[in-house]
């Protein structure tokens, strides 16, 4: 394992290059965006920048800005592609509010971020300078119009001769601008040049050495230009990491977690934003004795996973909302036949095709209640990249022990977010055992439900004496089709009871902040970092606010009612739709609420309020902070 090189974070050789007059701005955290047209490589630039910052000891959270199309028309507002990288002196748990520095390859990409209110009003903007004098009059006009819109806000716009500079090294600047931009950031944030070179080498592994050399030349060119022309540098102090650390995105973490859980088969159909997990599995799963099967459709992917699970080790299928809908019947079969199965839903905006590349938390109720008939099962939501890894081990174990379906709800924010976390200490005990194919003891029944717990031992094909037929029809302990009232009632009770048994084994969620107070925020999934940052701001201002974050959505963790009772008001914060009180026609009776809010109201009978938004981007801590202030119960402390 490589050591955490240069974690001290200062590269003296670099400092010598910088213009002596460059002012160093010391700050605890800073947010950078790199935006371009699709295909210009802004994402690669952002990813390398984020990874090197992490390696040098900054806290990092990286988010992709992705259009839905592969190559939308250039220089369009909707076509912007890139990255936001938020770095800090300590851990960074979310993408923050607004960017401090933007590297933009054209003014339309910049404009798109401006219009989304994604930039600080004093942001520094480094922008390609060819557009103002472009031969095409329309382009010149578009530039001028954009500059008029951006004027007077307070942005500091610095025009950079990106293309002109790149042409001194390469013939086609379109393919190298991103490395020049990386050079600008390398100088600006005082990155270790060697580490950046290493990361470029890793990114272009397998490509010819010429490509590496050209990229390094462009990088150095960008750094030199910045050193000669910029009058400030950013210093976000770095700390040596006390423990071994890994950095990856949530989809990679899910794929590695599945391997750590000892799973041997994943079946999928391509769907954004889940697919990158499959790309990673396709690359490495076979080395672990695993198979990634790309099925002919979403339904088949669920069927292949369920068939594999039935025949041996628990398998999983990975999808997004539309795929969840298509797989529904198989999910019911998993529950009815008590065949373990893990389904990962990397949520995106919906309904229907919705917002394929953008985050949303709108599948919660579909994941829990979407199956026709009564189909009790388990739903888990990781809240961090690290949890994306570990949740797969938990999901596999629960699916196996409880012979049930486990749905894991990730989302586009976790899927593409990159964050360092403590390196997992892999334990062989996490892994599924080799299937036990010993003869079945006389009298063992395929659904020999323990009347107290509903649990029963699974029989696997290959076990002599165990021959029985799985069926999705109502069946008795022996697996025989049985339509009688007695059997249907009893078997439904057994399938439900075991979920209650699981619930009794869980712990109450910890409260972030004081155990009692004015307002309790309840969240789930990827919003944890932003919620806790917002709560911390409100608490620092003297407000009595705490938060609770739920990992188990079905069954709900115990103790919620007790926790809720200690707060004057309880409110969920979610990335899904809810009606605004006070909007036309909306009453307390007909108001459609956030999905977790609905669930909590039903299960606790507490009047849980909600604040939800569907901006197609992660919630910003600043927006949550405002919502907290607006929803604090009036009338002073309890």
């Amino acid at each position: 394992m490589p050591t955490s090189t240069a974690a001290a974070g200062v590269a003296p050789a670099e400092a010598a290059v910088s213009a002596p007059s460059a002012a160093s701005i010391l700050t605890a955290q800073h947010t950078v965006e790199v935006v371009s047209d699709s295909g210009e490589g802004a994402q690669k630039c952002g990813q390398i920048f984020g990874t090197v910052c992490a390696k040098m000891g900054n806290g990092v959270w990286t988010v992709e800005i992705i259009p839905a199309e592969i190559q939308p028309p250039p220089r369009t507002i909707d076509g912007t592609s890139g990255n936001r990288i938020r770095i800090g002196s300590g851990p960074v748990t979310n993408w923050g509010d607004q960017a401090n520095v933007v590297v933009a390859f054209n003014e339309q990409a910049l404009l798109s971020r401006h219009r989304l209110d994604a930039l600080q009003h004093d942001a520094v903007i480094l922008i390609e300078n060819i557009w103002a004098t472009h031969p095409d009059a329309d382009v010149r006009e578009a530039w001028a119009e954009a500059m008029r819109e951006l004027a007077g806000i307070g942005y500091r716009i610095i025009e950079v001769p990106m293309e002109q500079q790149c042409l001194t090294v390469v013939d086609n600047p379109a393919l190298g601008k991103n490395m020049f931009a990386l050079g600008l950031l390398t100088w600006l944030y005082n990155l270790d040049r060697e580490l950046v070179h290493e990361q470029i080498a890793a990114t272009f592994r397998g490509k010819s050495p010429k490509i590496y050399e050209a990229n390094v030349a462009l990088l150095d060119l960008g750094a030199r230009w910045a050193g000669e022309n910029l009058d400030f540098r950013i210093n976000v102090p770095r700390q040596a990491r006390p423990e071994a650390t890994v950095v990856m995105n949530g989809n990679q973490a899910i794929a590695l977690g599945a391997v750590a859980a000892g799973m041997e088969l994943a079946a999928m159909y391509p769907i954004t934003p889940a697919t990158s997990a499959s790309h990673y599995l396709a690359e490495m799963f076979e080395r672990f004795g695993g198979i990634l099967h790309q099925a002919e459709d979403e339904i088949a992917a669920a069927g292949v996973a369920l068939g594999a699970s039935y025949a041996g080790k628990v398998a999983f299928t990975i999808t997004s909302g539309p795929g969840l809908a298509l797989k529904t019947e198989f999910l019911g079969l998993s529950v009815m036949s008590e065949t373990p199965l893990v389904l990962v839903d990397v949520q995106r905006g919906g309904p229907a095709t919705g917002l394929p590349t953008k985050v949303e938390q709108s599948d919660l109720l579909a994941a829990i209640f979407g199956q026709p008939g009564d189909a009790p099962h388990v739903v888990l939501a990781p809240a961090t990249i690290e949890e994306c890894f570990h949740v797969m081990v938990t999901a596999r174990q629960i699916a196996e022990s409880f012979r049930t379906l486990v749905v894991v709800l990730s989302d586009a924010n976790l899927a593409t977010g990159v964050q360092p976390f403590p390196r997992p200490e892999i334990d062989a005990a996490w892994m599924a055992q080799r299937p036990d194919l010993s003869p079945v003891p006389e009298g063992t029944r395929p659904y020999g439900w323990d009347p107290e717990t509903g649990l029963s031992r699974r029989i696997l094909p290959g076990q002599p004496g165990g021959m029985f037929t799985v069926t999705g029809l109502s069946h008795d302990e022996a697996g025989q089709i049985a339509y009688t009232a007695d059997v249907h009632q009893r078997s439904a009770t057994m399938r439900s009871r075991k979920i209650a048994v699981l619930q009794q084994m869980l712990e109450a969620p910890p409260v972030n902040g004081d155990d009692e107070g004015d307002l309790l925020i309840v969240g789930w999934g990827s919003t944890k970092g932003a919620i806790e940052e917002a709560v911390a701001r409100a608490r620092a201002e003297g407000h009595s606010v705490s938060s609770v974050h739920l990992t188990f959505l079905s069954p709900l963790q115990p103790g919620l009612k007790e926790i809720f009772r200690r707060f004057r008001k309880v409110m969920t914060v979610e990335i899904n739709y809810s009606d605004e009180p006070g909007d036309p026609y909306i009453t307390d009776e007909n108001r459609r609420r956030g999905q977790l809010a609905w669930l909590l109201r039903a299960s606790t009978l507490v009047d849980v309020d909600c604040w939800t938004r569907i901006p197609g981007e992660p919630l910003r801590p600043g927006a949550i902070h405002e919502a907290i202030l607006a929803h604090l119960p009036r009338g002073g402390a309890a």
Binding site: M1, P2, A267, V304, R423, P461, G472
Partner: protein, 316 residues
């Protein structure tokens, strides 16, 4: 490439003498006269003749009358969802190539709601036997038109007669890239049925067998022309296909058809007039997805070591 036959032949020291009774489970609840009974009997005979270990054999089915099949065979069984037997079977075989997998589907299952899986399973060419028990009608839901219902045949959903020409499952399967075994037989000719099932079982790949069969309730008369007049049936014979000497006295309409000839197979499948029974196509050299995807097993310790190497790639 190993045929499931050789994989599953019992080890020499396993002296179990398997008989028909070893593969019989509960009493079938199919209607008297239903073609399913005949298929079940032939299959049980195949299992005992070939000495398949019951615990290493899985029957996977969808939903419909014929999909009750696994409940009546004393092996492992998976009676799943309508139309979705093939993906389940694919998952079982991918994860456990040591199991012999048989898939039993009706015409609704295979060529209607699950038609996509039928095309793709044919192309995957996993080593399994897939039976289409085709009675040309939806029986369990009580008489609705299926894709193989002959044009003009009346049902409750198309009471003025089926609107469209029937689908031709043999021709469709032969059209799929990487098809490796396509045969047709009939439930009313047990010797031919048995010989065809046996050839299917012994083929190393996805063996698709369409079995023409009567539904005594809703399509009783559909095949009477073939049953009463053997000349309306044409047997495709070849040493690489099936030859049933017991039938040669009754069935004079026999032709030599080399199952290695795909063009001839497609012509025969499209030709009208008679019911053709036999192996249309067989190519044991076709790549099977299961073999291609086979990966060496890893112990937990090996995985831990490999995972640590993989984490090194993400280490900072």
């Amino acid at each position: 490439m190993t045929a499931i036959a050789s994989l599953l032949a019992l080890a020499p020291d396993d002296m179990r003498e398997l008989t028909l009774a070893d593969f019989q489970k509960s009493v079938p609840r199919w209607c008297p006269g239903c073609g399913d009974h005949s298929v079940l009997t032939s299959m049980q005979r195949l299992l005992s003749d070939e000495g398949l270990a019951p615990e290493k054999t899985v029957f996977v089915s969808g939903i419909g009358c014929s999909s009750r099949f696994p409940h009546y065979v004393k092996t492992y069984g998976f009676h799943g969802l309508h139309g979705r037997a093939l993906p389940v079977a694919t998952g079982i075989k991918l994860h456990r190539p040591d199991l012999a997998v048989f898939v039993v589907m009706g015409d609704g299952d295979c060529v209607s709601i699950g038609a996509g899986h039928w095309m793709h399973a044919t192309r995957y060419n996993m080593n399994m036997v897939a039976l289409l028990l085709d009675n040309n009608v939806y029986g369990l839901t009580k008489n609705q038109t299926s894709p193989t219902t002959p044009q003009g045949h009346r049902t409750l959903t198309q009471p003025r007669g089926s609107y469209l020409p029937a689908m031709n499952p043999i021709a469709q399967t032969l059209a799929v890239s990487n098809a490796s075994f396509v045969a047709q037989t009939a439930e009313w000719l047990p010797p031919h049925l048995f010989a065809t099932l046996k050839a299917a079982y012994q083929h190393p790949g996805f063996s698709f067998v369409r079995i023409l069969q009567r539904c005594p309730k809703f399509t009783d008369g559909l095949f009477s022309e073939f049953i009463e007049r053997p000349d309306e049936v044409q047997l495709l014979e070849h040493d690489n296909g099936v030859v049933v000497p017991a039938l040669s006295r009754t069935f004079k309409n026999r032709i030599e058809h080399d199952p290695g000839d795909l063009d001839a197979a497609r012509r025969l499948a499209e030709a009208d007039g008679v019911a053709r029974l036999g192996v249309f196509y067989r190519d044991p050299s076709r790549p099977t997805y299961g073999d291609i995807r086979a990966v060496p097993a890893r112990s937990a310790q090996e995985r831990v070591a490999l995972l640590n190497e993989e984490l090194d790639r993400h280490a900072i």
